[in-house]
């Protein structure tokens, strides 16, 4: 089962590999041209969108579109197991990419004070990983609902982007009330990560139900 999921993700692995190379180049440039400093951290905001669109959205809908669900789901493996492995591989790719980028950016960024509106906020602690999980789950849920990859991709894009705006607004609101310092900002980050992962869990369950329990058309 894992073999099939990995094999199907080969193209997407190459895509993530490209991001690895791109980010390496970007961070390298920052090291040698201090004018560009902070760029790699700023561009990071788009990475969850990439996860939602390219890792989450195709998972179920690509099978429906090409009819291969009729092959995959009539082997000696339950639909739930099939679903689980697809999600595990997509999540692993997203988390590995996140770990690589956040380590690399941390490496090239000079000393900084962590604040709510700093570019490093989304790149430190559990926050980037929670967004990666949330983005994949958003794409996956739209994939299971619409059963159309392009529609799911668009919905995932706008869904994750809108969530980022909402999260930013809520962060700023809490900052106005609590004035987070560098020492206790991890609390805010953990709360944000906790909410994201909880919503992702619900979305993942819904996607599983729609895949394993609803009839394919």
């Amino acid at each position: 089962m894992s073999w099939l999921a990995f094999r199907q993700h080969r193209g997407r692995m190459i895509g993530m590999g490209l991001i690895f190379v791109l980010w390496g180049g970007l961070c390298g440039m920052e090291l040698y041209a201090p004018v560009l400093s902070g760029m790699s951290a700023m561009v990071f905001a788009y990475i969850p969108l990439v996860f939602g669109v390219f890792l989450g959205a195709p998972i179920v809908s690509r099978e429906y579109e090409r009819g291969t669900h009729q092959f995959a789901w009539t082997q000696s493996v339950s639909r739930s197991q099939w679903f689980l492995w697809q999600v595990v591989v997509a999540l692993s790719l997203a988390l590995a990419t996140t770990a690589y980028i956040s380590t690399l950016v941390g490496f090239v960024t000079p000393e900084f004070t962590l604040e709510v509106d700093s570019v490093m906020y989304p790149l430190t602690g559990s926050v980037p990983y929670a967004w990666a999980v949330f983005a994949v789950a958003t794409g996956l849920l739209w994939s299971a609902i619409t059963r159309r990859t392009t529609v799911a991709m668009a919905a995932a894009f706008f869904g994750v982007a809108a969530s980022q705006f909402i999260a930013e607004g809520m962060r700023n609101r809490s900052e106005a009330v609590s004035h987070w310092t560098a020492a206790d900002i991890w609390i805010l980050q953990s709360v944000e990560a906790g909410i994201l992962v909880a919503i992702a869990g619900v979305m993942g369950l819904a996607a599983w139900w729609l895949t394993a329990r609803r009839d394919p058309a």
Binding site: M1, W3, L4, R7, Q8, G11, R66, G67, T68, H69, Q70, F71, A72, W73, T74, Q75, S76, V77, S78, D215, P216
Partner: protein, 295 residues
């Protein structure tokens, strides 16, 4: 052992019923021809049998179990459009089969596709329609299931490919004794390989039974116009000209009427006769216990 059993099976898509009150009992080892006009519910019945669709009413069982979970090991399925992963090579498709099925015969599948000149290194999307069908069916056979369900396996194949597909399938049946459920529009081709018939019409079973018995029980009665042959029979269809009358009839006893002749019928004639009169049904009555299960 009953390979496939349906009791009060119904399947509704939004507000139309694709299957309704289907009672069916197919003994193990039969090669079943599932026929019927377009939209009769053939594909729906097959999808329910392999666990892709869930019944709206009643139940369907494969070897006594519902076709989910571990029972999927005993059922193989090839959908009408032969879905395979286009970007995979043929060899990788065999590997998928091997990874996903505990009883999978990878060596046999590789050998069979070699014999058919389907190269293992070829990507699936480069295969011809016939080769694609061969790969899909070979994978299903290699699963070593006890029931293999093939939805229109011969559609879109040229005559030579049709022959090869059927030949390969019959070899596998002879080797393993598996039960086969296959649907087709070409009834003449089914007659050679199938020994059991299920005719669906408007989502219901219209005729079901062993083909030999069905052929034994039906005759074309031809006699002078304006007369009726004596005897015990049911008329399924009739054709009248000025001089003579032809009746497609199911006989309970031989007809002894010197003015009338009884001719044997091909499976196609019988099936077409029933298709033209969709209100006439003929199948063994459902067993009472099955009715009890439904209620």
């Amino acid at each position: 052992m009953i390979a496939l059993e349906a009791a009060g099976l119904g399947k509704r898509y939004r507000d139309t019923w694709a299957l309704r009150e289907v009672f069916l009992s197919v003994p193990q080892g039969r090669v079943v021809a599932l026929v019927g006009p377009n939209g009769a519910g053939k594909s729906t019945l097959m999808r329910v049998a392999v666990g892709l669709s869930r019944p709206t009413t009643g139940r369907l069982r494969v070897f006594g179990e519902e076709p989910y979970g571990e029972t999927l090991e005993r059922v193989a399925y090839v959908a009408q459009d032969k879905p395979l992963y286009d970007e995979f090579t043929v060899g990788e498709m065999i590997r998928v089969g091997e990874r996903l099925n505990p009883r999978f015969d990878a060596k046999g599948a590789t050998r069979r596709l070699n014999d058919l000149n389907v190269p293992g290194r070829a990507r699936v999307h480069t295969l011809s329609g016939g080769q694609r069908a061969q790969v899909a069916i070979t994978l299903a056979v290699a699963k070593r299931a006890d029931l293999i369900v093939l939805d229109e396996p011969l559609a879109s194949l040229d005559p030579l490919a049709r022959h090869e597909v059927m030949e390969g399938l019959m070899m596998a049946v002879a080797d393993t004794g598996m039960t086969v459920l296959l649907s087709s529009h070409v009834i003449a081709e089914l007659e050679e390989v199938c020994d059991h018939l299920v005719l669906l019409s408007r989502g219901r079973v219209q005729v079901a039974g062993d083909i030999e018995e069905i052929l034994q029980g039906h005759r074309l009665l031809v006699g002078p116009a304006g007369t009726v042959p004596g005897g015990s029979y049911e008329v399924i269809g009739e054709h009248r000209t000025e001089r003579q009358t032809s009746l497609l009839a199911r006989l309970s006893d031989p007809v002894h009427d010197p003015r009338w002749t009884a001719r044997e019928l091909s499976l196609q004639d019988v099936v077409l006769g029933y298709m033209r009169s969709p209100d006439v049904t003929h199948y063994p009555p459902p067993v009472l216990a099955e009715r009890g299960d439904v209620a």
